[in-house]
């Protein structure tokens, strides 16, 4: 037979082989597929991201409320924790017996204590595979063995536990704001225990500690000579201030937003040593 005469039979044979290979590849890949419910993996990822958003919101709210409580205590106690200074009624006596003046450190201690008292509750619901259709009754076996015995609240419990374990890692001052960073929170992705979505929450709060630091400086600079001089200078500097004399003390109360800064100052006694700037960690 002429060489040209065999072209067509070879072509037909090649078509048969190529289509056969294509079919077997598709059939093999289909058999190998792990995603037995189409879209389940994507849905599980979306659920993990959604849980992350809820955790961020929960921490943001808890942080705002903790900040208010911490600042309220610091303002009522001249920048100190409750009980650090001797008091004159509801006014803390601002003198060297209070210890080092370091509102930043006190704020960090207070806010950490406060936020740890909030307990996260998750609304995470695991996908009920049986519900998705009659065919799926047999597809339960797609769940890894380990997860079958863990109960329906397994991922919810992991999420709650990891959030409640998280803590404030760092508080940094930047452009008159406080940047609060939390430790990492790992969220397991449903249906795949070896996969996780990790978030590292970070929030910005306006730095209300600057007012406390400025108040300390103002007292240090304007209350050296006499009570009268101190009173006049403070009234000139602060618009919303009330000052009451009681023996050798001036009882000072300044309204600042939702807080009242309180201090009892004795001109003749030394102010506490300041530590106005945070130490570098």
């Amino acid at each position: 037979m002429n060489k040209k005469g065999v072209f067509l039979p070879i072509f037909v044979f090649s078509v048969f082989i190529i289509l056969g290979l294509l079919y077997s590849t598709i059939a093999y890949e289909k058999l190998k597929r792990e995603d037995m419910v189409i879209g389940l993996k994507a849905s599980n990822l979306i659920k993990a991201y959604d849980e992350g958003d809820k955790i961020n919101f929960f921490l943001e709210q808890s942080l705002k409320q903790s900040e208010r409580k911490a600042l309220s205590e610091l303002y009522s106690n001249s920048g100190y924790k409750k009980g650090s200074c001797k008091d004159l009624g509801s006014f803390p006596i601002l003198d060297s017996s209070c210890g080092e003046f370091n509102p930043e450190k006190n704020f960090e201690d207070l806010i950490k204590k406060e936020i740890n008292e909030y307990k996260y509750k998750s609304t995470f619901e695991e996908t009920n595979i049986i519900k998705l259709g009659n065919l799926l009754l047999t597809k339960i076996s797609i769940l890894p063995e380990i997860e079958k015995g863990l109960g329906s609240d397994f991922y919810k419990a992991i999420s709650e536990n990891n959030v409640n374990k998280a803590d404030i890692e760092n508080i940094e001052e930047k452009d008159n704001n406080l940047i609060i960073q939390f430790t990492e929170i790992e969220l397991k992705i449903e249906g795949s225990l070896q996969s996780a979505y990790t978030i590292k929450p970070e929030f910005k709060l306006s730095n209300n500690l600057l007012f406390l630091n400025n108040f300390y400086k103002t007292i240090a600079e304007n209350c050296r000579i006499s009570q009268e001089e101190c009173e006049n200078n403070l009234k000139r500097i602060y618009s919303d201030i009330s000052i009451e004399k009681q023996n050798k003390f001036l009882k000072i109360a300044i309204n600042k937003d939702r807080y009242i800064l309180k201090a009892a100052v004795d001109i003749s006694s030394n102010l506490p040593n300041p530590k106005l700037f945070r130490e570098n960690k």
């Binding site: 039979p9 598709i26 037995m36 189409i38 994507a42 849905s43 919101f57 609304t123 996908t127 998705l132």
Partner: protein, 171 residues
């Protein structure tokens, strides 16, 4: 005979016919295999679109700033103030209802959003409540209060006669 094998001539009557028939049989066979049995199509069921839903609408609603007693605060903070006993429901009612009315709804349907705040002591409900209607687009979150307790906040679309397709359009 030699002329029959010349290039450009319809030649090889036997080989040509047999090859073409064989090609046709192969193509028909694979067409049935690929398209008839839909080899590429997965037999696995497809997950419902409801499973792709997130809670962004509810989170954004809680973050929305509203004016209460001349103060601009978030809905979440307003709820906290209510539970600390410094506010009453009537102050929350108007701003929250306004937000709920702005959320996208299916057209030509009697539908409205409901916001429920569930607490062991006092629960709050905003929006029109009708028992017969079906719930769609349900979203929920636990909201922390300054008392360190959590309240469960639920948002859903209450609609009579809505179907899944109409809901998919707005979700």
């Amino acid at each position: 005979m030699h002329n029959l094998y010349k290039k450009g001539v319809w030649g090889y009557p036997l080989e040509l016919a047999a090859s073409l028939v064989l090609l046709a049989i192969i193509l028909i066979f694979y067409s049935i295999l690929f398209f008839g049995f839909d080899v590429a199509k997965s037999e696995a069921p497809v997950i419902s679109s409801e499973n792709y839903q997130d809670s962004l609408t509810l989170v954004n609603l809680l973050k929305t700033q509203v004016k209460i007693d001349n103060n601009l605060i978030s809905v979440a903070d307003a709820v906290d103030i209510f539970y600390t006993g410094n506010s009453d429901k009537s102050k929350l009612e108007q701003p929250i209802t306004e937000i709920l009315n702005k959320l996208p709804k299916p057209k030509n349907r009697n539908s409205h959003y409901m916001l429920k705040i569930i607490n062991e002591d006092i629960s709050l409900e905003f929006g029109e409540s009708k028992l017969i209607e079906s719930k769609f687009l349900e979203q929920k979150i636990y909201l922390p209060l300054s008392s360190k307790k959590n309240v469960l906040v639920k948002l859903y679309l209450s609609c009579s006669g809505c179907n899944k397709k109409e809901i998919e359009v707005i979700s």
